[in-house]
């Protein structure tokens, strides 16, 4: 092994949970806990400040969004790797964790030594997913991809003008404001909006906006960026 110790910052919503993990990990000679935090922004700040090898975030505790913590830490753009702790049956959390950029997933049914292995493993640049969950994770991701493709297909069926109207609609403008901005009559905008809703297969402007956000059409097509 190269560097001897893996440095860790912990994040989660329950003091006792973090304190016992801190205690158990600190006893292992190959792990050093740099700190822990009870809030998501606090955890992200601590990761930014202390630059640990691994950030370990709980995603199975109530009132604490471990997935957001994971995504925010990844957004820092530092080399810190992220392991998410979740429950064994919770496929949805695993998929969100992977989408949020997690490098590893450890379940609460694992032992402390499993966790230590996982820390070293992601530190070496490998990913760690419980093998029993791999099959359903792949199925879940493929399913997600399929939905995304279908969404994309519907989106590309929009005409140029419709796409422009959608861009404005997503930012929250009403028909009159859109009409003024694009130099169209409110009546035309209404027609465009109706066609957009039909083509996207949604029932309201709000749903249309959600559709755009959910399938990440903003960043993929530069919609709404300004």
């Amino acid at each position: 092994m190269g560097s001897s110790t893996t440095t860790v910052v912990l994040g989660g919503g329950m003091p006792a949970v973090l304190e016992v993990l801190d205690f158990a990990l600190s006893r292992r000679p190959t792990v050093a806990v740099l700190g822990w935090n009870l809030s998501v922004p606090g955890t992200v700040d601590q990761v930014a400040a202390r630059n640990p090898d691994v950030a370990l975030v709980c995603a199975d505790l109530p009132h604490w969004d471990g997935i957001k913590a994971c995504a925010d830490i990844k957004r820092l753009g530092t080399p810190t790797r992220v392991i998410v702790i979740g429950s064994e049956e919770d496929q949805a959390t695993l998929i969100s964790a992977v989408k949020a950029g997690a490098d590893g997933y450890v379940t609460v049914a694992d032992s402390v030594d499993d966790l230590v292995d996982a820390l070293h493993q992601v530190c070496r640049g490998e990913s760690r997913i419980p093998s029993l969950m791999l099959g359903s994770l792949l199925r879940g991701l493929i399913e997600l991809r399929r939905e995304d493709d279908a969404a994309l297909e519907r989106f590309t069926s929009l005409g140029n003008r419709e796409r422009e109207v959608l861009e404005e609609l997503v930012t929250g403008l009403d028909n009159h404001a859109i009409a003024a901005k694009l130099h169209l009559s409110p009546h035309t905008v209404r027609t465009h909006t109706q066609n957009i809703l039909a083509k996207l297969g949604v029932h309201s402007r709000l749903e249309a906006a959600r559709f755009v956000f959910e399938h990440d059409l903003l960043s993929r097509f530069g919609i709404g960026d300004r």
Binding site: G13, M14, P15, A16, V17, E19, V20, L21, F23, A24, L25, R27, L61, P62, I85, V106, T107, V108, A109, D110, S111, V112, D114, L115
Partner: protein, 227 residues
């Protein structure tokens, strides 16, 4: 509900034993290691499925039961533990607020509860109180001593400041109406406080409340006529 509060007559010198029953191995194993390492309490972890084969001999002093352990309710587990270790108090390990935890513990007739959402020092203190051993972690913690009037014993440590003052007045012999006057709050508020205190202390009456409070170290205010 038979209570064995303040088990001070436990023999000295040997290892106090705690059995933790639960499936969240990662957290519970870490908890075992912390209890072993900081308190001298000897803790072992058992998955709920293996409970039937367990023949821990002699019986543990306390069973700490994870409230998420039972896939089909906790009652079967509580029953099984009662069969295997008759008379051993069961403390519920919860992951939520004081209110939810005390409700759950009361409905299972558990001895009490500890929550992972509290600082570990409080949790350790509750557990060591159950086993009659003063722990280093509990004693040295500054976080535990946040209430005025010195350290209060579990189950009193679960009460808020206001609930504690209501309880003190009850111990001093005040009626709910007198408490309302003394604290300048409505009778209705006093009733709510009393209900919450009862839930948190796992008692069913004001009489039992006074008896448990006094056993937990609360003394009547000196100089008052005793009723």
């Amino acid at each position: 509900m038979h209570l064995a509060r303040n088990g001070v007559d436990a023999p000295e010198g040997d290892q106090r034993r705690i059995l933790i029953v639960g499936a969240r191995t990662l957290y519970l194993q870490a908890l075992c290691e912390l209890l072993d390492g900081t308190t001298g309490l000897c803790a072992s972890l058992l998955p709920p499925g293996q409970l039937r084969d367990s023949s821990m001999d002699p019986s543990p002093e306390v069973v700490l039961l994870d409230c998420l352990a039972g896939s089909d309710g906790l009652e079967p587990l509580v029953g099984k533990i009662g069969e295997l270790h008759t008379g051993t108090p069961i403390v519920l390990l919860t992951w939520g607020s004081a209110r939810e935890s005390s409700k759950q513990a009361a409905s299972l007739h558990a001895e009490g509860w500890v929550s992972m959402s509290l600082p570990i020092a409080e949790l350790v203190k509750v557990i060591s109180d159950r086993t009659g051993r003063v722990s280093d972690a509990g004693a040295t913690s500054s976080r535990g001593a946040r209430r005025p009037g010195g350290a209060v014993e579990w189950p009193l440590s679960a009460l808020s400041e206001r609930e504690l003052s209501v309880l003190r007045l009850v111990v001093d012999g005040s009626s709910p109406d007198e408490i309302a006057t003394t604290l300048s709050i409505s009778r209705h508020t006093v009733r709510t406080h009393l209900q919450n205190v009862m839930a948190k202390m796992l008692v069913r009456s004001r009489t039992e409340m006074v008896s448990v409070a006094r056993k937990s170290g609360m003394r009547p205010t000196p100089g008052l006529p005793q009723s």
